[in-house]
Symmetry: C2
Subunit: 199 residues, 2 copies
């Protein structure tokens, strides 16, 4: 990095601190931006400064929102008694894109992952339990990824929720669309077999 001027080095450091961006990508981005006008840079910078300006957390589902409750929680068309538990706003957004779901959500803010220092106390589990009675919840869908931390969290939540008289479900496991049966792993294939449906 010798030879780069201080202001370039400064932005390089900021980009490199972002997840998934290494020194090469950071260089690429900085020199891309150097070819832009000062006005463009200002617009970009403003978008960063104002990122959190109007963003709060919905007091019901804990999702990021500009209003409280968030547009989903205040939507009367949606079934507030069915709640899908997700790890983060990205997963919520992925489920919304399916346009299949008419219930509401609860954003945990992560999954249990002791190696990353994420213990159950750091997640919005207390807030979920408080909603069960308050919102008269009848079903909780565990909408977490079927990986190690996701499964751990679902086991933990299932144990907790068993004490309440509500239905607990989880997303179906099976073959993803477009996948090749020949190359599917045994666990996925086993899940697909066990979860087979009549056609």
């Amino acid at each position: 990095m010798s030879g780069y001027s201080q202001s370039i080095k400064n932005l390089l450091e900021h980009f490199e601190s972002l997840p998934g961006i290494g020194p090469k990508t950071a260089e690429h981005l900085v020199f891309y931006l150097l070819n832009h006008s000062g006005q463009d840079l200002e617009k970009f910078a403003n978008a960063i400064i104002h990122l959190k300006d109007n963003v709060i957390r919905c007091s019901k589902c804990q999702d990021f929102s500009e209003v409280d409750p968030c547009p989903i929680c205040r939507d009367n068309q949606r079934n507030s008694r069915v709640v899908c538990v997700v790890a983060s706003p990205q997963e919520l957004s992925a489920l919304e894109r399916t346009k299949e779901y008419q219930g509401t959500y609860h954003v945990l803010g992560g999954v249990i992952d002791p190696l990353e220092g994420i213990t159950p106390e750091k997640l919005k589990i207390k807030e979920l339990l408080a909603r069960i009675k308050k919102d008269n919840i009848t079903e909780i869908i565990l909408g977490l990824s079927p990986d190690m931390p996701g499964e751990t969290t679902m086991i933990y939540l299932t144990k907790l929720l068993k004490n309440y008289n509500i239905k607990i479900t989880r997303l179906a496991r099976g073959l993803p669309i477009g996948s090749d049966l020949e190359y599917a792993d045994e666990i996925t294939l086993g899940n697909a077999l066990r979860g087979r449906r009549e056609v």
Copy 2:
């Protein structure tokens, strides 16, 4: 992206407009930043705003710099009569990291690439030719990548520079260190054979 608030969508768009950053990475970055303090965001934004503040182009080598001439061009220890032509500041930086080179540079600002609309007139070739007499240049090293646009540019420059009484060289082609001969392509292997040296 439904459901994301305006300020989030705004920064998402900015990130997505950067090269090599798709919608997923942009989401990842924005939610990473959302978990940071307003102060951190301001520091990042300031680094962007001030990116070009003190950055000018060296009037000799055309590299980005905070002073004119740049630290390399004003360094008396370096041989200003040997000039290595590079496409961009990144390549200059890569060559500097080798600590092998004691000459100076000339940054073209790209390579000839008609498909991308980069014609010779858009590169700093005029400035290079002007330096030959002014700096009493004895050798020009064509330090461009051995890919299609790089080769095209080197052929173009060689034709131009033949009119001057100077040495024109190019970087050696051969097997990269750590590579497996078995998997080397024929052109690289052919270059390595032709460029073989006595040991």
